[in-house]
């Protein structure tokens, strides 16, 4: 069997670029086309809601690669071009404008698109996904507006933290009982909530947005489902994102919550997916998942590229995620099911320096660290080892000492 020699990668973010690079590193020397609909050279997203929004970094610091590595890729980099369709019969990617690109290997890495809310199409309401979004949001924050952030997931929480760092009035709204509830559950969410109120955020949990109030085409306030309302000069909607699968509609590929891959990130023979768009069966946890985590974009792209070239290795990582809010660095390894049990493994939540373990069906499936990077890295092993749950009291001390 000969391997592919016309590979197309669609999506030029972290996953797409890493896949392209990994193909070359593994010795692939056929033609390589990398297609991305943004005009910018590939860049990194996590700093957008942190250093870029806060203005502490210039945009050139977030380039994913310098010019040298990009040139060494020896790829056709088609930027500012959208894939609009996939023809499985002819094995072609269709581009806006009518071009068709042949492939015998394909990596799908088009990420996600932020969700909006009804009535959010008036001036003063922002979404945050791209560099342009971040620069525009920063420019408007500099005007000193009263800010309402809708959605207290990690993205909304980070934006609220940056806006407070600029001494703005900030209200953070979420229909869930505490911030980051869906990600990490009640106990951690409560601590995140306290972190924000301690820093002067007005936190409104357990209530959602009923409608945006506008005047002359601009937002002037927000009405909540509990009947209350508040003034706002600027609103950030951070209510999650949906996989960018529109261009694959009708292709015959299995689409659901993202592009549905097998254990090896394969969607169909010769076709793989990676990054925020890809759902796959992770053997380590014996469950299907789709992650919107920076680390996963890299790891999954490397795995997909390897398997496209015949490596035949299941992708079964212990996922890693982090978020930075004020002086809190929250890091997590593993998965955090809604019905997981939680216990403190190290340190004290009240001192805002601790590691918590998450147990599910008798196994430790996740560890979360709050300003404890070294201890967390060590305790990650408990998840790798599928440590029985509840853990013995000595287990974390032993792991940290080793």
């Amino acid at each position: 069997m000969t391997g592919p020699n016309r590979i197309v990668v669609v999506g030029a973010g972290a996953a797409g670029l890493t896949a392209a690079e990994a193909l070359r590193n593994r010795g692939y020397d056929g033609t390589l086309t990398l297609i991305g609909d943004e005009q910018h050279l590939p860049y990194d997203r996590p700093p957008l809601s942190k250093q870029i929004l806060a203005g502490t970094w210039e945009p050139d610091r977030i380039a994913l690669r310098g010019n040298d590595p990009l040139a060494k890729l020896d790829a056709d980099l088609l930027l500012g071009r959208s894939a609009v369709g996939l023809d499985m019969a002819t094995r072609q990617v269709l581009l806006g404008g009518g071009d068709r690109i042949d492939f015998d290997g394909l990596v799908i890495a088009t990420g996600v698109t932020p969700r909006s809310l009804p009535g959010a199409d008036i001036a003063g309401i922002h979404l945050l996904r791209t560099l342009d979004d971040a620069l525009s949001l920063r420019a408007h924050l500099l005007d000193g507006p009263a800010v309402v952030v809708v959605g207290a997931g990690f993205l909304g929480a980070e934006v609220a933290a940056v806006a407070r760092g600029m001494s703005l009035d900030v209200t953070l709204i979420d229909p869930q009982p505490v911030p980051m509830y869906r990600q990490f559950g009640h106990r951690i969410g409560e601590l995140v909530g306290r972190l924000h109120t301690d820093h002067g955020v007005s936190l409104r949990c357990g209530t959602g947005v009923r409608r945006f109030l506008g005047a002359a085409g601009r937002v002037i306030g927000v009405e909540l489902t509990d009947g209350s309302s508040m003034d706002a000069d600027l609103v950030v909607v951070a209510v999650g994102a949906a996989p960018a699968i529109d261009w694959l509609a009708g292709s015959g590929l299995p689409l659901g919550n993202g592009v549905e891959c097998d254990t090896h990130c394969q969607v169909a023979p010769g076709i793989y997916a990676a990054g925020d768009i890809a759902s796959w069966h992770n053997n380590h946890f014996d469950t299907r998942m789709r992650l919107e985590h920076r680390m996963n974009a890299t790891e999954q792209a490397m795995a997909a590229a390897g398997n496209l070239l015949g490596a035949d290795r299941p992708f079964a990582p212990v996922p890693y995620f982090w978020t930075d809010q004020y002086d809190a660095r929250i890091q997590a390894y593993g998965i955090f099911p809604a019905d997981a049990e939680i216990t403190v493994l190290h340190g004290q939540p009240t001192s805002r320096k601790f590691v918590a373990g998450y147990g599910h069906h008798g196994t430790m499936v996740g560890v979360l660290g709050w300003n404890s990077p070294r201890e967390l890295r060590t305790l990650r092993q408990l998840v790798v080892d599928r440590t029985p749950w509840p853990p013995q009291a000595s287990v974390s001390a032993t792991a940290i000492a080793s």
Partner: protein, 65 residues
């Protein structure tokens, strides 16, 4: 091989230590990367390349000589 780290970009993920413990460590107080050896021996080169590739903050640069 020469290894360069950018502590300002580092997000303290520890991925580099998992990949190449002899070359990278993390500061006690905040987990930021410290470089133990900026010119690692050949047998560690593959691990170091892996560390640079997986670093989620793009904080590790490897110059191949």
């Amino acid at each position: 091989m020469r290894v360069i780290i950018d502590q300002d970009k580092c997000v303290a993920s520890g991925q580099c230590v998992l990949a190449a413990a002899g070359v990278f460590d993390q500061r006690d107080e905040d987990g930021i990367v410290v470089l133990l050896n900026d010119n690692p021996p050949a047998e560690l080169h593959e691990d170091v390349r892996q560390a640079a590739a997986v670093c989620p903050a793009l904080a590790i640069t490897v110059e191949e000589s």
